[in-house]
């Protein structure tokens, strides 16, 4: 894709999210973006960058900014300031992230239970395949969406390495439900690193971020122990149920994160160094 084509996508998106606004507001936003694109492409040309690299940068800036664009568009309606606590940033993107965190957390609290009760038979007829599908597949995708929402929503405050691990974990984790089940570990590692970083930046409390990382470690250790001793757990309902108990805190931790973000994000005291 060429830089000019990427710029056209940006212009189309601006036309979409400014539709219905007063002409002056619409024109101002369009002109701001037009100048930004011109400066970006002009700088790209003079610095000798390849057209492809520039196109990628434009698309990245477009995609990462979409939640903020939607949030800005919603704000144009004029929110009631009395409903918003002053120390919270109630963007739509953060609220969706909170919702995904809660839904994903519920899914991950639910699925270990039928998995422990039915074992692999839970996925076949006579089990509860619909419940496992909803809780495992949709729950995992919700958690992946929550992680991406956290990365995008707080890109200014988290370091590039943590953002990368978070995005990678969300992507591999979301894909793991198609059969690459070991990939789920990436989701846990990614979320532990990402949430730890958000605690460091002041978005989440340090206690909450450490607790989340601990639950992720407990989850991974438990799964490793189960698979290392699979013969012990096969057909052993009590053992499976006890093991499932160690998996639940991770889901509860996500519910707690979503709940703490439900009215917006607490303001970090200070931004982190890193790419923006």
């Amino acid at each position: 894709m060429s830089a000019e084509r990427s710029a056209r996508w940006v212009r189309r998106w601006v036309a979409v999210y400014t539709r219905g606004l007063p002409a002056e507001v619409r024109r101002d936003r369009r002109d701001e973006i037009e100048d930004d694109l011109w400066a970006q492409m002009h700088e790209g040309e003079t610095s000798g960058r390849t057209d492809r690299s520039l196109a990628g940068e434009i698309v990245t800036r477009l995609l990462f900014g979409i939640p903020a664009d939607i949030s800005w568009r919603v704000e144009q309606r004029g929110p009631d300031p009395k409903r918003v606590p002053p120390d919270l940033d109630p963007t739509l993107g953060i609220r969706f992230t909170a919702l995904f965190a809660v839904l994903g957390g519920v899914g991950w609290v639910v699925w270990p239970i039928p998995q422990a009760v039915y074992g692999d038979a839970g996925w076949s007829e006579g089990g509860v395949p619909w419940l496992l599908f909803i809780s495992v597949v949709l729950g995992t995708w919700a958690l992946a969406a929550a992680m991406l929402g956290l990365v995008i929503g707080f890109q200014e405050w988290i370091r590039g390495g943590a953002a990368f691990i978070g995005v990678l974990g969300a992507t591999v984790g979301a894909y793991s439900v198609f059969g690459l089940f070991g990939g789920i570990v990436a989701l846990l590692v990614g979320s532990a690193v990402l949430v730890w970083e958000l605690g460091r930046a002041g978005v989440l409390s340090v206690r909450q971020s450490r607790a989340h990382a601990a639950t992720a470690v407990i989850w991974v250790v438990t799964i490793v122990l189960i698979f290392a001793n699979i013969a012990t757990f096969n057909g052993n309902a009590i053992g499976a149920a006890l093991a499932a108990l160690f998996l639940l805190p991770y889901g509860f931790s996500w519910i707690a994160i979503g709940w703490s973000l439900r009215r917006g994000a607490p303001m970090p005291e200070s931004p982190a160094e890193g790419p923006s």
């Binding site: 940006v10 101002d28 936003r29 002109d31 701001e32 973006i33 037009e34 100048d35 930004d36 011109w38 970006q40 002009h42 700088e43 790209g44 610095s47 960058r49 940068e57 990245t60 800036r61 477009l62 995609l63 990462f64 900014g65 979409i66 939640p67 903020a68 664009d69 939607i70 949030s71 800005w72 704000e75 002053p86 120390d87 940033d89 890109q155 200014e156 303001m267 970090p268 005291e269 200070s270 931004p271 160094e273 790419p275 923006s276």
Partner: protein
């Protein structure tokens, strides 16, 4: 609005051109600028369209820090230095 949330963007307004590798996404940047202006930390004006047309480029919007913005930025920087005393001041706002 807590100024610390938008400190990186405010710092860049104060520090001149930004390398392309550190560009903020379009949505985040312009939403932040809108909020900072609404809160009185920034003031803006549009360039004369004729000037832009003469140079064959889109018109530009110029932002400047208001007194309130300068004060808030200084406070946020000081708070950042206090929080991380071992960090060099320049790095703390980058």
């Amino acid at each position: 609005l807590t100024i610390g949330r938008y400190l990186p963007i405010l710092s860049r307004c104060d520090a001149g051109p930004v390398p392309s590798s550190r560009l903020t996404s379009y949505g985040t940047l312009y939403k932040a600028l809108t909020r900072l202006e609404r809160e009185g930390y920034l003031a803006s004006r549009w360039e004369d369209p004729l000037t832009a047309a003469a140079e064959a480029r889109p018109r530009r919007k110029f932002y400047r820090l208001t007194l309130e913005g300068e004060g808030a930025l200084s406070e946020a920087r000081a708070a950042d230095r206090d929080r991380l005393p071992d960090r060099p001041a320049a790095a703390a706002v980058r």
